[in-house]
């Protein structure tokens, strides 16, 4: 259960930066390699218009896709990682956190906020893969816990968008216990009868899969995402066999009964608000 980098390149860009970018700028689709204009990308919710590949995007982009007029109030934005174990690998964890924060403009691997989607109240917690592989440390756990508290107090539906390699090794057992913490909070949310939507995006693995990501009233996923508990490399090394084609994709997980449906990002807002209306 560890964060890791995937070979496949993902592109992550905050919406606001994109909006300011001149119209002529473009990125290549990592899948079909066709050029995608920035304006078109925003319009298409960062889905390739040629091959439907879902580009890897950050929390700001998801918030802009979900919330009406991109209007939301962020919760607990000022929580940052401490370094309770004085962890040092190739560099001290404390230094790494500061460096990553400077590079990404993020305080940690999760943003929480509330707003309206199609006029309905929703609290959203969304992971940022750019921050140490979207790994779950104390900040991720605490922000989810507080967002759930907020949901329970105001009786507002709750949604988590997962995008994570799993636990944050530099917080070791502190990171592990965030699995119990978030799951316990979700038990309270469930007891209060408040809807919880879990959206799994590329990639969702390790401790995140083994806690909040799999505990939705509905578990939904973007197409083609890597979803699993153990990483494919670990499984391959353990069983010493090649993995079947399509193993641990959203489609595979749906087929095995652990997802309710797969949602195209361009329909995400409609599907989520439809579900909330149906259960409210």
């Amino acid at each position: 259960m560890a964060w890791f980098k995937r070979d496949k390149a993902g592109i992550s860009t905050a919406t606001e930066h994109k909006k300011e970018a001149p119209d002529g700028l473009w990125n290549k689709c990592p899948n079909c390699k066709k050029p995608l204009l920035n304006t078109e990308q925003i319009e298409n919710k960062y889905v390739c218009q040629y091959c439907n590949y879902h580009l890897r995007i950050d929390s700001m982009a998801y918030f802009s896709i979900l919330f009406d007029n991109n209007s939301f109030t962020e919760l607990n934005a000022n929580l940052r990682s401490a370094d309770p174990l004085n962890f040092v690998d190739s560099k001290p964890y404390a230094e790494r956190v500061i460096e990553v924060a400077e590079k990404t403009g993020l305080n940690d691997a999760l943003r929480t906020g509330y707003g309206k989607i199609n006029g309905l109240d929703l609290v959203v917690a969304c992971m940022d893969f750019n921050f140490i592989g979207g790994s779950m440390g104390s900040v991720v756990g605490e922000k989810i816990a507080r967002a759930i508290d907020y949901s329970i107090k105001r009786r507002i539906p709750f949604m988590i968008i997962s995008k994570s390699g799993g636990a944050r090794m530099m917080e070791a057992a502190f990171s592990l216990m965030q699995m119990a913490k978030t799951s316990a909070k979700l038990a309270l949310l469930s007891k209060a009868g408040i809807p919880y939507i879990s959206l799994l995006t590329d990639p969702t693995t390790g401790g995140v899969t083994a806690s909040f990501a799999m505990l939705g009233d509905i578990n939904i996923a973007e197409p083609g995402a890597l979803i699993g508990f153990a990483g494919p490399r670990v499984i391959k090394e353990t069983i010493k066999k090649d993995l079947p084609k399509g193993f641990q994709t959203s489609e595979f997980v749906l087929e095995h009964g652990f997802l309710d449906f797969i949602v195209d990002r361009r329909q995400l807002k409609e599907e989520v608000s439809n579900f909330i209306r149906l259960v409210s």
């Binding site: 259960m1 560890a2 890791f4 000022n78 929580l79 940052r80 990682s81 401490a82 309770p84 174990l85 690998d89 190739s90 440390g137 104390s138 900040v139 756990g141 605490e142 816990a145 636990a167 090794m169 917080e171 070791a172 057992a173 502190f174 990171s175 592990l176 216990m177 965030q178 699995m179 119990a180 913490k181 799951s183 316990a184 909070k185 979700l186 038990a187 309270l188 401790g207 899969t209 083994a210 806690s211 909040f212 799999m214 505990l215 699993g228 508990f229 153990a230 670990v234 499984i235 353990t238 069983i239 066999k241 993995l243 079947p244 193993f247 641990q248 595979f252 095995h256 009964g257 652990f258």
Partner: protein, 319 residues
């Protein structure tokens, strides 16, 4: 064959020296009791010095000692009237997790634990204590049974992790563990969890959410094994000792960081040196806690359990 770790070598050397002196004394009929007494004292001091100052990695080694007692040993030593219950009622019976009703002292309890196996054949049969989703679902089924009949749950944790395999993924390893975390956090009966060997990641935590969580003195509990941590962070298996230190995975570290509720001391030299004594110590702790926890109102019990886990973590707040 006896297993002696590198760090135990000074003890083994002294023991060898003592044996030699004894042989000589016997052969020559010379009184060597003074020398022997001195050596015995030296041995005792050495044992204390070594076993009371073990590093992270040494504790990892000890937790894997081939003669270390396992779940079924403890059930046999601590419990009576054990009825093993099998199967998750969906897919099969996972041999890596065992469980059933038994009595401890005067209490009827549900006792569940990882079972690694003691020889090659057993280890294969038990999948080295690495459970598939069925194992976690069996454990949950048994915990729900305990809840139905208002009996406390005792779990014994000893795993290097949930099994990373194709079928495990197909049958939802992540969902199985996640479900247990959620259900255990609100189970309406007392839960006591004890790490008796290795406590690796979600595979351990999957039966590890309790009102009281303990580690035996020479065990480890963390998010990843030191070997895997070494290979990921340092791209080599050679930094496992360094990783073991960095992860702060010992019972002492875990207690200091308030991630467990207590450390249960082991007989000097480890649980395998005196399994009966170890079992008696665990039994005493379990009985004390059951008595204490059964006094609590159910709502209060669950509330305190959730609160405890919700307080875990360290963050900086402020701009």
């Amino acid at each position: 064959m006896e297993t002696i770790f590198d760090f135990e070598k000074p003890i083994a050397d002294l023991q060898l020296q003592i044996d030699k002196v004894k042989q000589v004394a016997e052969k020559t009929k010379v009184d060597m009791s003074a020398t022997l007494l001195e050596l015995d004292e030296k041995l005792e001091a050495k044992r204390k010095e070594i076993y009371e100052n073990m590093t992270g990695w040494q504790n990892v080694q000890m937790s894997r000692h081939p003669s270390r007692p396992q779940t079924l040993d403890y059930i046999q030593m601590m419990c009576e009237n054990f009825i093993e219950l099998h199967g998750d009622r969906t897919v099969g019976d996972d041999k890596a997790i065992v469980g059933g009703f038994a009595t401890i002292g005067e209490h009827s309890v549900m006792i569940i634990g990882h079972q690694k196996g003691k020889n090659t054949k057993e280890r294969q049969y038990r999948n080295f204590g690495m459970a598939n989703p069925e194992g976690y679902r069996k454990a949950l089924r048994l915990m729900k049974l305990a809840e139905k009949f208002n009996k406390p749950v005792v779990t014994l944790i000893d795993t290097i992790g949930a099994f990373p395999g194709i079928e495990a993924e197909e049958r939802g390893q992540g969902e199985a563990i996640a479900r247990n975390l959620l259900e255990m956090s609100v189970l309406q009966v007392p839960i006591i969890c004890i790490v008796i060997g290795e406590g690796a990641s979600g595979g351990a935590l999957g039966i590890g959410v309790g009102d009281r969580v303990y580690m035996l003195e020479h065990t480890w509990y963390s998010v990843i094994s030191p070997e895997s941590c070494s290979s990921i962070l340092w791209r080599s298996w050679d930094y496992k000792e360094k990783a073991a230190e960095s992860l702060k995975l010992t019972s002492e570290n875990m207690l200091t960081n308030k991630l467990i509720d207590g450390v249960i001391p082991e007989p000097l030299g480890g649980a395998h040196n005196n399994p009966e004594k170890m079992a008696a110590t665990i039994k005493e702790q379990v009985l004390t806690d059951i008595k204490d926890l059964l006094k609590k109102k159910k709502d209060k019990l669950v509330e305190e359990r959730i609160d405890k886990f919700c307080h875990m973590g360290v963050v900086i707040e402020g701009s």
